[in-house]
Symmetry: C2
DNA sequence: ATCAGCAAGCGATACGTATAACCATCGGCG
DNA sequence: CGCCGATGGTTATACGTATCGCTTGCTGAT
C-alpha cells in the first residue's frame, strides 16, 4: 500500500481541524458545538452554518475524555452491577432493572455505559488499580447484592454522583437510593396473616442480613404490633450459612405452635425450595397445615409453586433511579436523596387460615 | 460549619498535589504511578516510597479522562441498534444478542456503551446533526432489521471500525459482519422436505427482501437443485405489504399441487399466524395436508405451534461480532472480514410426508 | 586533570475541550 | 464628531496526565 493512501486509520478530527476548515477559531467551533437554547451563542448564522458543514464533512465527534477533563458533562450515565449481569442464571433477576434504566436513559437523551470490564470472573470492582472507572460518566446507577462497602464509601468520599437501587447505608454519609419499601410490604403481609387468624408467625431471616433483611424484620415487628399482638410475639430464626431449612427445624416450629412462616427470599430460591421439601418430609401440607409467604419475589422464573409473596417494581426502580440521578446532576450541589416504591402483594396459593389441615 | 471543614466539595488530589507533598516533580509522580514490571522507572527506592506515601495519605486516584485524553483508545465498545431494544415486544428478539455481546466484551476487558439517546421514538440514527455519535467508542457492533444504508456507507467512508450482526452489503465497499448461514440452513431444510417426498415446495418471501431474504432464496434454489429437482421447480410467492397469507392464496396453491411451504419469518410472526389461520379456514390440517416450515425462528416466545424451523445462534453471533471487532481494532489496518455461523435445525411438528391427510 | 557514561529527576509539551476576558467593527445618537 | 452599546468574533488559559529529552551530579577510566 502506498503511504498516505486512503484507508489508513486517520486521527479523529478535532475542533482545531474544524476551525481550520471553516476559517474560524477553535473557540468559535466550541461555541457552535455547545450551543443550547438557554445559552445561545452570539454568532452569525453564516458562521454557524460553516462550522456545522465542517462538522458534517469531517465527521467530527466531541471527545468525551477531553470534555469531561474540563469538568463538563458528556451525557453518559453508567450502570454498574456488583455481580455479572448476563450469566444465564442471573439475567432473569437483573434484566427488569436494566429494562427500566435503559428506557429512562433513552428518554432523557443520555447514553448508557455498561461497566462489564472489571472482573468477568469473581466479584466486580469499581476501582481497578486505584482508578475509578465510573469517572468516565457523569454519574452512575449501582446495583447488586454483594456490595463492596469500602468502594461505596470511596465513591462518597470523592463525591461521585450515584444512585443505588436498593437501600444501602454507608457509615457517616448519606447515600442516594431508590428502593422497594420492604418495611410496609412486610408489615402488610404480616397483618394479613393475623387477620386470617394466625397468632404464632415465624420470621426466617437470611444468614447475612443486609439492609433489606433488616427492613423486613422491622416490617415484621411493626406488623405484629399494629395487629395488637405486640412485639413480644416475634419469633425469629436466622438461617445457617447453607441457607436451608430442614425437616427437624420445621417439626420443632410446628410443635411450638407456629402456623405461618414469612421468609427472606434467597437469591437461588433455596429457602422456598427447602421449606417445601421439609414440609413434604414431615407430612405437612402447605397451606393447609402451614402457611408460607416470601418477603419478595423469587428470581428464578421456573419456581415450582405459586408462592404468596410481593413483587418488587423492578423496571420502575430502574427508571426512578435514573431520574433521581439526573436530578442530582442538574442540582449540581445536590443533597443525597432517598425514594421508596411500593411493592405489589401477590395473593398466591401458600397462605390460608390456620388449622385447616386438622379440620379436614 | 467552619470553612475548610470536611463535607464541602473538595477537588480530588492531582499528581501536582502529590508532587508538592513528596517534594518532587509531577513528572516523577507520573512515573511512579505508571510503573510496570516491563517498563520500570529509573527512580531511587526512597523517592518511590515518598510518592507512594503521598498517594496513600491524600487518597489519590488517577483521573481516567485525562489519561485517555493522552492515548486515543478508550477501551469502550459501542452497541447500536436501529430499533429500540427494550420495548417489551422487541426485547425477546434483541436480548440474546445483547447477552453474547456483553459477555464477550466483559471477557476482553472492555466496557460497553449502549446508544439509546437517539430516537426514543421513531427510527434511530447514528448521525445526529451530521455528527457520528459512535465515535466516542473505539468501535461498534451494529444490529437491526431496518438499516439506514446511507448511514452505513457514511461509516465505511469515514473508516469507523464496526461489525454488523447479520449480512449487510454496501455498494462499493466491504463491510465486516457476523451472520447466520441462511443459505445452508435453508438448503438443508428444503433437502429434507424433498427426501420426505415433497415435489412442489413453495417459497413465501417477505415483501421487502433484504439480504437475509435473498440468502434464503438462494438456499431454497440450491436445495432444489441439490435434490435433483432442478431450479425450474422453484415456486416463489412474494407477500403483499400486509405480510399476510389469505385462505384463497392457500387454496390456489394446494390446488396447484403444492404440498409444502417454506416461509420467511416476519418480525411479528404474522406469516406463521396467517398461514395457520388460512389453513384452518380452508379445512386443511398442518402437517397432514400441508407441511409448513419457517426459515428462522419466531421472535415471540408466545408462539402457538411448535414450528419446524431453524434457530439462529444469537448469543454466539454477538460474541463473534465482538471478537471480530477487537481483531479489527488490534490489526489497526484491518481488512473487512465476514463470518458465517451455522443454524440449528429444529424438527418441530409442522412437517410430514405429503399426502398423509388423504390416506387418513 | 579530563571526560565518557550512567543514574536520578526535572522541564516542557501535547492531548482536545470549554470559557472568561478581551478586542474590533459598526450603526445610532446626542 | 466622539462616545456607546451591541454584535461577532478571537486570544489565552485551565483541566490532569504521560513522555521525550535535557540537566545535574557522580563514578571510574584514561
Amino acid at each position: 500500500m502506498s503511504d498516505g493512501a486512503p484507508g489508513r486509520r486517520r486521527r479523529p478530527p478535532t475542533q482545531i481541524d474544524l476551525a481550520r476548515r471553516a476559517g474560524v477559531s477553535q473557540a468559535t467551533v466550541s461555541q457552535v458545538i455547545n450551543e443550547t437554547p438557554d445559552r445561545p451563542a452570539r454568532l452569525s448564522p453564516e458562521t454557524r452554518a460553516r462550522v456545522l458543514d465542517a462538522v458534517r464533512e469531517l465527521g467530527y465527534r466531541v471527545n468525551p475524555a477531553a470534555r469531561s477533563l474540563k469538568g463538563a458533562r458528556n451525557r453518559l450515565l453508567g450502570l454498574f452491577t456488583f455481580e455479572a449481569v448476563f450469566p444465564t442464571d442471573q439475567r432473569d433477576f437483573y434484566f427488569p432493572f436494566l429494562l427500566g434504566v435503559e428506557e429512562e436513559v433513552a428518554e432523557q437523551g443520555y447514553d448508557l455505559v455498561l461497566f462489564s470490564s472489571a472482573g468477568a470472573s469473581g466479584p466486580r470492582r469499581i476501582y481497578v488499580d486505584g482508578v475509578n472507572r465510573l469517572k468516565l460518566t457523569d454519574g452512575a446507577v449501582l446495583l447488586g447484592r454483594h456490595v463492596r462497602r469500602t468502594e461505596l464509601s470511596e465513591l462518597v468520599k470523592e463525591d461521585f454522583p450515584f444512585v443505588f437501587i436498593g437501600r444501602r447505608e454507608v457509615p457517616g454519609a448519606r447515600v442516594s437510593y431508590v428502593a422497594p419499601d420492604y418495611v410496609s410490604a412486610t408489615r402488610d403481609l404480616v397483618r394479613r396473616l393475623v387477620e386470617l387468624g394466625h397468632r404464632r408467625i415465624l420470621f426466617v431471616k437470611a444468614y447475612q442480613g443486609a439492609e433489606p433483611t433488616r427492613d423486613r424484620e422491622r416490617g415484621y415487628r411493626r406488623g405484629l404490633k399494629d395487629s395488637g399482638l405486640g412485639v413480644e410475639a416475634a419469633i425469629v430464626h436466622r438461617l445457617p450459612s447453607s441457607g436451608v431449612v430442614t425437616a427437624p427445624d420445621l417439626g420443632a416450629w410446628v410443635r411450638d405452635g407456629v402456623t405461618a412462616i414469612v421468609a427472606d427470599p434467597s437469591e437461588d430460591d433455596s429457602v422456598a425450595a427447602s421449606i417445601e421439601a421439609a414440609a413434604a418430609e414431615t407430612g405437612l401440607s402447605v397451606p393447609d397445615d402451614l402457611s408460607v409467604a416470601l418477603l419478595g419475589d423469587p428470581s428464578r422464573t421456573e419456581t415450582t409453586r405459586d408462592w404468596t409473596r410481593f413483587d418488587l417494581p423492578r423496571p420502575e426502580l430502574g427508571r426512578q433511579a435514573v431520574r433521581l440521578l439526573i436530578q442530582l446532576l442538574e442540582a449540581d450541589e445536590g443533597e443525597a436523596r432517598q425514594v421508596l416504591l411500593d411493592c405489589t402483594q401477590i395473593p398466591g396459593g401458600t397462605v390460608a387460615e390456620p388449622g385447616r389441615g386438622r379440620r379436614r
